[in-house]
Amino acid sequence: MTTTATPGPVATATRTEPAVHVRGLVKRYGGRAVVDGLDLDVGRGEVFALLGPNGAGKTTTIEILEGVRQRDDGEVRVLGVDPARAGREWRARIGVVSQAEGAAQELTVREILDHFAGYHATPRPTGELVAAVGLEEKVGTRIGRLSGGQRRRLAVALGVQGRPEVVFLDEPTTGMDPVARRQFWELIRGLRSDGTTVLLTTHYLDEAAELADRVGVVAEGRLVEVAPPGELGAELRRLATVHWIEDGVARGVRTESPGPVLRDLLAASVHGDVPGLTVTRPTLEDVYLQLVGAVPAASEGALR
């Protein structure tokens, strides 16, 4: 099974039970299933990215895991507890960075962090948090005057303030500039090396590839593929496309073994040369688009 890949040395040292365990999750809105039989396992200490287009059910899934949305069917365990019935002790072990901003505009960064520190038994110190998210120069600034990216960073700081065992991040880098995104990635790597389990949603492929131990592709409320980023869509990626030009007309063929195709082409060529000859394999993006059904799946044979 693809869902049991070893996430790293930290997870093996902790309890064996997965941090997140989901079977047959269903959520309907007005009779339409937005999550439709989703299965998911995230190991302790693993960084897992849920990748998918808008409306695929990522946010709904993560909100059910956070225990703020009721499910219609299926089995869910987060840290061994059903989130729908969980109490404060469980909440203290969970960190959430949601899409909502959720902070009073009139408070400064330091004030809001100091205030919410009081909700945790052992909060991370405010100075450590602002350094980790790169907001040192903004500690005295009111939230209403922060940029969108800075607010996202503050949200991340608030999400990890209570030293959670599992962190859920729903599109954490939306609105961040490239520098802030890279800073955020460092933060996630830091959490990972602490042994924190991270489940994040994103629609950035590079982010999933950069951060995640494994990527789950969600389409129409189901997990259509789970693999380490380098192995995502392995079958689809085996399919190479050979392009060339014949009598001034672009030609192409899809095949799992381009070698024989090339040999035939070269053998048939008059000058021992084939104009415009290329062999391409699908990029991560091509694979992703096929997995989520944005483009029709490729099959072997001549191209139209």
């Binding site: 949601s98 902070a103 038994a121």
Partner: protein, 274 residues
């Protein structure tokens, strides 16, 4: 950063979070300048306007209008800082996702309400501390005559502010955007003020209005305030022929206790699923 905790102490108690919330709510209140000015100026301005228009009139029992009316002004000002301000602010905090964060942190609802209540008690005290000297020295309205009248004033004001807070929490659950909740809350407050005899003698109102108003805290708050500000014999002109302190305490306390329990159980941290 340090490694993940496996054995963690229990989260802070609801009381500790409630205290932190009171400090936060007060800080936020005093940073919203328009709200501060409006909350503190409103009762004073109402007093000035009504005294200018009706200052020469007298209520039953030869009581000058301004003296009779001060009780209503104090009560309606308290409704503004409790019921209206709380109802509108919760609807806004829900809409902007601030309540969602509290929910995700596992904040006990009662600690959140306590933060609102603490802020309301402090701002109500400040509001009254501004209104009473204006009435006393600007309009010669006598303040409560002795300690027992001050005690009455104290418990009626405190219970009234708390009951108003509970009512505010309850109305914040109305469906719709924060803006539409705000409109509804203001309209309801206006109607309730008229029904509760804030602007008129309560006795002059039609019976059905009196009965409707008796269900809500404002009528009892206003009546209790009159019992603190007016001479004892004026109680004869109340609808029951007396001040009804026992019933006032009962109705206000029932609002606070039953209302708080219902609100804790039914409170929504986020807008309905959609």
């Amino acid at each position: 950063m340090t490694a993940v905790l496996t054995d963690r102490p229990a989260p802070p108690s609801a009381a500790r979070i409630a205290l932190a919330r009171v400090r936060l709510e007060l800080r936020l209140f005093f940073r919203a300048r328009q709200q501060v000015v409006f909350s503190f100026a409103y009762p004073v301005v109402m007093l000035v306007i009504f005294a200018a228009i009706l200052g020469g009139d007298e209520r039953p029992g030869d009581i000058p209008f301004t003296q009779y009316f001060l009780a209503g002004i104090a009560a309606t000002g308290m409704m503004l800082t409790s019921f209206q301000a709380v109802g509108i602010s919760i609807a806004e905090e829900r809409e902007t996702g601030q309540l969602e964060r509290l929910q995700l942190l596992g904040t006990p609802a009662v600690a959140y309400f306590a933060g609102k209540a603490g802020q309301v008690l402090v701002t109500t005290a400040a509001q009254l501390a501004l209104l009473l000297p204006v009435a006393r020295y600007g309009y010669d309205v006598p303040l409560p005559v002795d300690l027992s009248h001050w005690v009455t004033f104290g418990w009626v004001a405190a219970l009234g502010a708390l009951a108003g807070t509970v009512l505010g929490v309850a109305v914040s659950a109305l469906p719709g955007s924060a803006a539409s909740v705000g409109t509804g809350v203001s309209a309801f407050a206006l109607v309730l003020q008229f029904f509760s005899g804030v602007f008129f003698g309560f006795l002059e109102l039609p019976g059905w209005m009196q009965q409707f108003a008796a269900l809500f805290p404002l009528k009892w708050l206003t009546q209790g305030m009159r019992s603190a500000f007016l001479p004892d014999q004026a109680g004869a002109f109340e609808i029951a022929g007396g001040w009804e302190h026992g019933r006032t305490a009962l109705v206000l306390a029932a609002w606070v206790i039953i209302g708080a329990v219902v609100c804790v159980r039914t409170f929504r941290w986020r807008r309905a699923d959609g």
